[in-house]
């Protein structure tokens, strides 16, 4: 396509979603994805799915081209700006058609209303000054939950989220922090705390690991609930996205229905039926390649729909390295990319467009902006591109090793990694037992976690513990009776945590790689202290069983990548943020960023549903604007 209306860079939850909406609305859209399309080989065979990606070594340990540093892509890391950054093994970007939405864990939460108002919340509760003194920058979002709610409903239909809404609502409203805040005005005003829109799929089956955690939580007094996840319900007759969208349209809410959504569902979506999940266990961090993918993500939904449209072109193996910028009119004119169909012999190509939408993930999007435009980077007049990066506190959790009678009984292979969750510790009190005199600090969601990768574990023992022979084999046994409880902890934004261009290290094609500067602050350390006893409490019933071992681990500062957020912060003040409320660069209004970079704060839960919902919100606004007399600037 010589001239597109929209050039979309990246095809995951943000780019993959907005490109569908815009193309469906009639715009000419070109989608560029740096990775390849791993779903393609299936088109010509008779298999229900492609088993080749179900290979723990290749697709988790070896991490070849589809994931983590394809052909030399990597990032560098340091703890502070005083240090020299070095190449490291995290901060990855899903590089395949569908991006990170193909290899995500499928945990499908929507953010809570208070997540949009954390500045107000901490101010009201006299904690903001302390947090700011500790180096945090915690703004309210320029949009609120109410504006997002109808898009959350639609996002959940695109992602075929399973779960029980009433139980989720109850887990939230039964939590101690909720009851502490519920009389506060700002809390009540933050949005609808009891959404009624049912999840489009029934709850995922309870697994043995989920059962153990649910029982432990119940005994600890934590309201446990089935984890909502983006998988077509096992045992069902498949999933009809169109029918689910129809239900979402009926529940649009109090606001006027935008024109795109004010049409029947059969105008919006095809009759395609997605297959039920077989719980085969190769999902989190693997590629579920059912022909009509049970595991949700852009590749299984919006990108499939795009294939039916004549006004869209999807180009894979296209590594965008420049958003072309005309300084005279302060507008982007398109992008330049390396066609790496033959990665040994890349070809520079240009795609012109009236608008550019960047969606490369919160590490690669700032890298692209900083490589583009004026010397300081595109949209970076105030030096905010890349600032406030946050990653969630992965690795924070408790591991429980049960004794030998449990060998083989945990069945970690069932379905995806998580199963049971609780909102009890979305905020944690620093004076347990005397909550009225303590302060509530932001934490996150706890989720049961099954151990699914025995080969990775075995190789880890060999490398890290140096065990061999019988000792190695004996240690390998332990894995099949191990389970975890993890806290997806909120990593509050700090200006000193950021992504920029590494001044020294370059990728295979000579472009500077992204440099990540990140350390924990007081809020994170506080969370580790507070989380330890409350998480261990879940395992108290099992700790009494002779031979059980329970071990707590704090977050790992370099364990980053899966959830990356905040590097192109959305806000109303152009000096303090990169994007406006519709995710346009303040400086360059025909460039949008719709991956999780836009998030001013990071929640304490998986961001995918919010990224998809926001892409729908921004896309809807673009469609409405273009139809109105105002048009897009």
């Amino acid at each position: 396509m010589e001239m597109a209306d929209f050039v979309v860079v990246g095809s995951s939850g943000g780019g993959g979603t907005i490109s569908w909406l815009l193309a469906k609305a009639g715009f000419k859209v070109v989608v560029l994805e740096q990775g390849t399309d791993w779903g393609k080989p299936l088109d010509d065979d008779n298999l229900k799915y492609n088993p080749q990606p179900h290979d723990e070594y290749r697709f988790r340990l070896e991490r070849p081209e589809l994931k983590r540093r394809p052909r030399g892509d990597y990032n560098t890391f340091r703890l502070s700006s005083e240090q020299q950054a070095e190449p490291f093994g995290a901060g990855w970007t899903g590089s395949m058609l569908g991006g990170g939405s193909v290899i995500w864990g499928a945990w499908s939460f929507r953010a809570l209303p208070i997540d949009y108002r954390l500045n107000t919340h901490f101010k009201v509760n006299n904690q903001l000054a302390q947090l700011e003194a500790e180096g945090y920058s915690i703004p309210d979002w320029p949009v609120d939950y109410s504006e997002m709610e109808p898009f959350y409903n639609v996002a959940e239909t695109l992602l075929a989220v399973n779960g029980d809404r009433n139980s989720i609502n109850k887990s939230i409203s039964d939590s101690a922090w909720f009851n502490a805040f519920k009389s506060q005005r700002h809390f009540q005003d933050s949005g609808n705390w009891k959404p009624k829109f049912p999840f489009p799929c029934p709850p995922y089956p309870l697994t043995p690991v989920g059962h153990l955690i649910a029982e432990g939580m119940a005994k600890a007094g934590y309201p446990a609930v089935g984890l909502p996840s983006g998988m077509v319900a096992p045992g069902s007759n498949g999933y009809k996205t169109r029918a689910a969208i129809a239900k979402a349209l009926k529940k649009w809410g109090d606001t006027d229905v935008p024109s795109f959504w004010d049409q029947s569902a059969d105008k919006i979506w095809s009759e395609r039926v997605r297959s039920a999940c077989t719980m085969c266990g190769f999902c989190g961090e693997y590629l579920c390649w059912g022909k009509e993918g049970p595991k949700s993500g852009a590749r299984a939904s919006t990108l499939q729909e795009l294939a039916d449209l004549p006004n869209v072109e999807v180009i894979t193996d296209a590594r965008v390295f420049d958003v072309m910028y005309d300084q005279r009119v302060r507008r982007a004119t398109g992008i330049r990319y390396l066609d790496t169909t033959d990665p040994e012999d890349p070809v520079v190509r240009v795609q012109k467009g009236r608008y550019v939408i960047v969606s490369c993930g919160a590490v690669q999007s700032p890298r692209l902006l900083l490589m583009s435009g004026p010397p300081e980077g595109l949209g970076n007049r105030y030096g905010k591109v890349g600032r406030y990066v946050s990653f969630h506190l992965f690795g924070l959790g408790v591991t429980c090793v049960l004794p030998e009678p449990f060998q083989g009984k945990l069945h970690g292979e069932f379905g995806h990694t998580g199963n049971t969750t609780t909102f009890e510790h979305y905020f944690m009190n620093d004076k347990p037992g005397d909550e009225a005199n303590g302060k509530w600090w932001k934490a996150g969601t706890m989720v049961s976690t099954a151990k699914k990768n025995p080969l990775e574990n075995a190789i880890g023992i060999l490398q890290n513990k140096g065990l061999m022979g019988l000792d190695l084999l004996k240690q390998m046994e332990v894995y099949a009776r191990t389970l975890e409880l993890r806290l997806t902890g909120d990593d509050l934004p700090m200006e000193s945590n950021y992504v920029d261009l590494d001044p020294r290290f370059v990728d295979e094609y000579g472009f500077p790689v992204a440099r990540i500067t990140r350390d924990f602050g007081e809020a994170e350390r506080r969370m580790f202290r507070l989380a330890k006893p409350v998480m261990e409490k879940v395992f108290e019933p099992y700790a009494k069983i002779p031979g059980t071992l329970v071990k707590f681990a704090g977050g790992i500062v370099t364990l980053i990548g899966d959830h990356q957020m905040g590097t192109c912060r959305m806000g109303d003040d152009p000096t303090q943020s990169v994007l406006d409320r519709y995710c346009r660069l303040h400086d360059v209004p025909n460039v949008f960023v719709v991956d999780s970079s836009f998030m001013p704060t990071g929640f304490g839960l998986n961001p995918m549903v919010t990224v998809v919902a926001n892409a729908l919100r921004v896309g809807t606004w673009i469609v409405e604007q273009s139809k109105s007399g105002d048009g897009l600037t």
């Binding site: 070896e62 070849p64 983590r68 540093r69 340091r78 190449p87 490291f88 060999l462 022979g469």
Partner: protein
């Protein structure tokens, strides 16, 4: 690989993974009752699992890595070798980047390295080590009948102060580098579900570990339900409480959802592809990455 080397590798693999001894010593017994190595008169060895056959194919399969390695050597020497930007120097200067660049993928992870820390393909790696292994085996044989488990363990020991007794002296290539990589590859061979042994030998190690995930597994919601019920029974037993009323699961029942013994491996290629795949890279934390990890407060 010639027959002599093939035999050496099979014996060494048996020394590294004394599966029969392990099975005899452990208390966990898989629920399947028709496992040939348990009372069926057959021995369980890496050879029987098809490990060496897989290993040989893996070395062939990854030989295409050599092309990528060559490219990376060039990038290490000249980071802008494959740059398409004619004005790179000027462009970097404008953006405040250092004039001298470095290609750092190697240090990040993903690459098998030789004794000097340079990237190397699996085929080249083993080609350099196999002659040394042959000499080590000869040296061990000269001392009497080879105890392969002892030899395997000795190959891990090559600290400067305690030189390995059989490994050729003065070698920059250390025996531990070889044996660790071989051990990793054998683990992949025995747990990766691409090994060419017949069922149930192809899954033998996973079965004995109590791991039920298989390529092609297909469950219904009844399977986890049944597994939860079994779990409750174990909890009741270990906490010395009477088990809740339930239908006992027969001892001969296979693990929930596991493929029936003798059934084909659903959707899995029966042999390793002979066409070399695209060059890929491996993940391995480097010393630098580990130092960074340790640096956390």
């Amino acid at each position: 690989m010639d027959p002599e080397l093939h035999d050496i590798l099979e014996n060494l693999a048996s020394g590294l993974f004394p599966l029969d001894a392990w099975i005899n010593a452990k208390t966990f017994t898989p629920t399947a009752n028709d496992l040939p190595w348990r009372g069926g008169g057959e021995s369980l060895t890496p050879k029987r699992i098809g490990a060496i056959q897989f290993f040989e194919a893996l070395v062939r399969e990854t030989s295409a890595d050599a092309l990528l390695i060559e490219r990376w050597h060039q990038l290490i020497a000249e980071p802008f070798s494959f740059s398409t930007r004619a004005d790179m120097e000027q462009w970097r200067a404008i953006r405040g980047l250092e004039p001298k660049a470095e290609f750092g993928a190697l240090e990040s992870e993903n690459v098998l390295t030789d004794f000097e820390g340079k990237p190397i393909s699996r085929a080249s790696f083993y080609a350099a080590y196999f002659p040394l292994l042959r000499l080590a085996v000869k040296a061990a044989a000269a001392q009497g009948p080879i105890q392969w488990d002892v030899l395997a363990i000795n190959l891990f020991k090559d600290e400067k102060d305690v030189p390995n007794p059989v490994w050729p002296k003065g070698q920059p290539r250390r025996s531990s580098n070889f044996i660790k990589q071989f051990c990793r590859d054998l683990l992949y061979a025995m747990m990766g579900m691409r090994n060419p042994a017949p069922t149930p030998f192809n899954y033998a190690l996973l079965i004995e570990l109590g791991e039920h995930r298989r390529v092609g597994n297909s469950y219904t919601p009844k399977d986890p339900q049944k597994a939860v019920k079994e779990l409750k029974e174990v909890i009741a037993k270990v906490t010395a409480q009477p088990p809740p009323p339930s239908t006992p699961v027969p001892a001969s029942a296979p693990p929930v959802g596991a493929p029936r013994i003798g059934s084909p491996l659903v959707g899995s290629p029966s042999v390793i592809a002979t066409t070399p795949p695209k060059p890929t890279a491996r993940t391995r934390p480097t010393a630098r990455a580990k130092r960074t990890k340790r640096a956390k407060r």
